[in-house]
Symmetry: C2
Subunit: 102 residues, 2 copies
DNA sequence: TGTTCATATTCTAATATGTTCATAATTTTG
DNA sequence: CAAAATTATGAACATATTAGAATATGAACA
């Protein structure tokens, strides 16, 4: 049996870049932060918390949903958004503790 | 003396978004990874490793330098690039261990 | 039914980003 | 000095992202 010796971790840089781009925006980061603390929130709640205009926020939310970061569930007249890919929170935490001087 | 009670960590989302955007690109991520393992590298070395064309890579490098992520030092005909903001490596490590399904 | 609320979508404009190509600047070498 | 190597720069272009306005859809409710 042939075993790979210390296989250099294969990273899909395209994927990684795609993922980072998908969250790299102040509003989207805030949304992730909020949903990491609160399970689900309606669009309106997110609007108020982020201070982002409804239409624009909707765009961001739709995008993140399509990219698998968020899930959404319609209940009556409301749509509840939640984190689907909770791993992105780790990236947030990382930035939070990073002290990146920029 | 008045002490702030459990101050909710203030995060500058603009800054965070800016930082993420600054590295959110397959070539730039690779550059960061390479320089996290090797201290300095010339443009040519980075070219070969990333498979990115010289001019394009140069643009990326210049951008990252201007944003404070990389430093550069000219030595003779070569220019050595190095990580200036090593904290970005943490973000890479995070992605690496994330198993983000995307 | 008609009105209001919550959300999504479409359209348009502005701006930013990624890419390529040609060329410049500088250093080394023959 | 001329040629080759290394890197940067600028123009031009394509594409993507961001933003906001207007409008559509559908649910709730008087």
């Amino acid at each position: 049996m042939i075993t790979k010796v210390a296989p250099t971790e294969e990273i899909d840089w395209e994927k990684a870049g795609y993922l980072l781009k998908a969250i790299a925006h102040p509003v989207r980061l805030q949304v992730i932060m909020l949903l990491s603390q609160q399970q689900n929130m309606t669009v309106n709640e997110l609007c108020k918390e982020t201070g982002c205009e409804q239409s624009l926020l909707s765009h961001h939310l739709t995008g993140m949903r399509l990219k698998g970061i968020l899930s959404s569930a319609k209940e009556g007249q409301f749509v509840y958004y939640a984190l689907k890919e909770r791993n992105v929170v780790k990236i947030l935490d990382c930035i939070r503790h990073c002290d990146c001087i920029m």
